[in-house]
């Protein structure tokens, strides 16, 4: 491939990105099992929501499982108490995630760096406790909740193919939405905050409101992923809010390449492939994950997508 056409390849791919992603996931589902890839798709949504905070706004959260869990429990509780309408459950999950982010946001987004990471981790820990012990009467404690959904029209989530298609369409919608958001002046504002918050504030922007809005959108998207995940598994347990699992999404975001929605999706898929298949071959896979993280931090900061971009086109193309 000559140097002249390289940026063109990337630009062409970018204009058909949603179709390309859909086809790739379809192929993946065909090669692996459809159930497994549904899980991949949902995790990719979660990583995209995390990347909005980390990649765009430069805030590393060590407690994003909080929102995934909020969504999962909200959707399960809706199913139990308000009838098994999956659409209602997903709406409730997203709304619950946004609401929780709106409540916690004013406390968390004022902080930066380590403080932001740790305060989110602390809230995540509190949530885990609430789900596991304090509200055990409603959440089922350690046993969790079973989620039964009624079919709504053609949306029968008992059918694995419908579940897959719905998750994939959701992912495409989330990608489209996130790209719209990050390409907008608001997205530029977020990246400005990442680089130099003080300067953005001097320019007269309401930094707090922008940060809070990003936090709420990210929380709502993560909760949506949680709601989907509850539908997909058919149950919810406290492992959905386990603070120890935050490293998964951080790792996925880094390996894919932070700061790009495609990087987030790539990272989500690669992490799921690793975590699904590696443990059956390598016994000490946590150790391997640790070494991989070190390599990412020291040598490979732009991630897989960053690598692809640097090979195929000019770096300015990064979203």
């Amino acid at each position: 491939m000559s140097a002249l056409t390289r940026p063109k390849v990337l630009a062409t791919l970018r204009s058909f990105d949603l179709a390309v992603i859909a086809v790739l996931f379809g192929l993946l589902a065909w090669v692996l099992s459809i159930q497994r890839v549904t899980d991949f798709v949902i995790f990719a949504i979660f990583v995209v929501s995390f990347d909005l905070l980390y990649g765009q706004m430069g805030r590393l959260s060590f407690g994003h499982m909080l929102f995934l869990g909020t969504g999962a429990y909200a959707s399960a509780l809706t199913a139990v108490h308000l009838g098994g309408n999956p659409v209602l459950a997903l709406v409730m999950a997203t709304a619950a995630g946004g609401l929780v982010a709106l409540l916690l946001g004013p406390m968390t987004v004022r902080t930066t760096g380590a403080c932001f990471a740790l305060i989110n981790l602390a809230f995540n820990q509190v949530w885990h406790f609430l789900a596991l012990i304090a509200f055990a009467t409603w959440t089922g404690g350690e046993d969790g909740l079973a989620v039964w959904m009624q079919p709504v029209g053609p949306l029968d989530f008992g059918d694995k193919r419908v579940m897959f298609a719905f998750a994939l369409v959701s992912l495409l919608a989330v990608i489209w939405l996130t790209r719209r958001l990050t390409d907008s002046p608001f997205g530029i504002l977020l990246r400005g905050i990442k680089q130099n918050e003080m300067r953005v504030r001097f320019l007269g922007y309401d930094v707090f409101r922008a940060k809070l809005l990003a936090f709420v959108v990210s929380g709502a998207l993560a909760a949506f992923a949680g709601g989907l995940s509850a539908l997909n598994y058919g149950y919810v347990t406290p492992s959905f809010v386990d603070p120890g699992r935050n490293v998964e999404v951080i790792f996925a975001c880094l390996i894919g390449g932070a700061g790009s929605v495609y990087g987030a999706v790539t990272g989500g898929v690669v992490y799921m492939l690793i975590s699904n298949f590696l443990p059956s071959y390598v016994q000490r896979w946590e150790m391997l994950l640790g070494f991989a993280l070190l390599v990412l931090v020291f040598r490979f900061r732009s991630g897989l997508w960053g690598f692809v971009v640097s090979r195929l086109g000019p770096r300015a193309e990064e979203t």
């Binding site: 990471a117 509190v126 070494f291």
Partner: protein, 276 residues
């Protein structure tokens, strides 16, 4: 009542011993060190191994602390030193990776089953009509001794003074021709050794298991954030205050003890947000 206070003081003492290293590492190097939990866990496991091999508690404790020192030096030399001055996110992720590797290594060497240890002194003393284990009193006294020792170290010795000056203004110290970073690495190793000591002291009160470190680390982060990063006296006050919170909540509703700490931390951070 006396029982609750004594328990709170014991927890506070252990929290202080572990958190002070964390606080110093942050204050000097601007690094949030998740690998701190590894030193803590390794200390407890080394204690168990040496005691099983027939060593006394004192010998095992000394061995645990001494073996952790070169380990901490290696981590500082090859991981932490490369993260100086970088974005704090990479430091968090890098040290978390070290923790993952270390915990998996511990599972490899010792297995994942929790190991209970018995009280090494096993005697009780009566204070105001309440039976208290002598061991816990020893821990509280030891924390006091460590606090005084650190105060002496940072106020009277030249190494300590360089570190304190470096906490205030790193560049100014460096421009005096002092290699601040090598002094900071001494602080790192010292902090890790104290974390190992904390793990050793706490091991007989709880059980030894691979994930013991991460749990305590979260509480210690709360201590350090409440006390003020890099503030030695703040860490002391916050340790005992949060130790009391744990003891009192634990008496009222056991499972909520640790969560109460995070609630306190959230309130404190709301009142005085830290700009890190």
């Amino acid at each position: 009542m006396i029982g609750i206070i004594a328990y709170g003081l014991t927890i506070g003492a252990i929290l202080y011993i572990i958190s002070i290293g964390l606080s110093l590492t942050f204050g000097t190097m601007r690094i949030v060190n998740f690998a701190h939990a590894l030193a803590y866990t390794a200390g407890a496991y080394l204690l168990y191994s040496v005691m099983r091999a027939g060593g006394s508690f004192l010998l095992a404790a000394a061995a645990g602390v001494i073996i952790v020192v070169p380990l901490a030096w290696l981590i500082e030399r090859f991981i932490i030193r490369r993260l100086y001055g970088q974005s704090i996110d990479y430091a968090i992720i890098g040290t978390y990776a070290v923790l993952l590797i270390g915990v998996d290594g511990i599972k490899w060497l010792w297995g994942a089953t929790p190991i209970p240890l018995s009280d090494p002194i096993g005697e009780y003393v009566q204070i105001f009509g309440v039976d208290l284990p002598v061991y816990r009193l020893v821990i509280i006294i030891l924390a006091g001794v460590i606090f005084l020792g650190l105060e002496f170290f940072f106020r009277r010795t030249i190494v300590g003074k360089v570190v304190v000056a470096g906490l205030e203004d790193k560049d100014a110290v460096r421009s005096l021709g002092i290699r601040v970073d090598s002094y900071f690495s001494i602080v790192f190793v010292l902090g890790s050794a104290l974390a190992a000591l904390g793990g050793i002291l706490y091991a007989p009160i709880t059980t030894v298991h691979p994930y013991m470190g991460l749990h305590v680390l979260l509480v210690c982060f709360a201590v350090v954030l409440v006390g003020g990063l890099g503030s030695m006296r703040g860490t002391l006050v916050a340790s005992f205050a949060l130790g009391m919170v744990i003891a009192i909540t634990g008496r009222v509703w056991g499972p909520a003890a640790e969560t109460a700490v995070f609630a306190v931390m959230a309130v404190v951070l709301m009142v005085k947000p830290l700009e890190i």
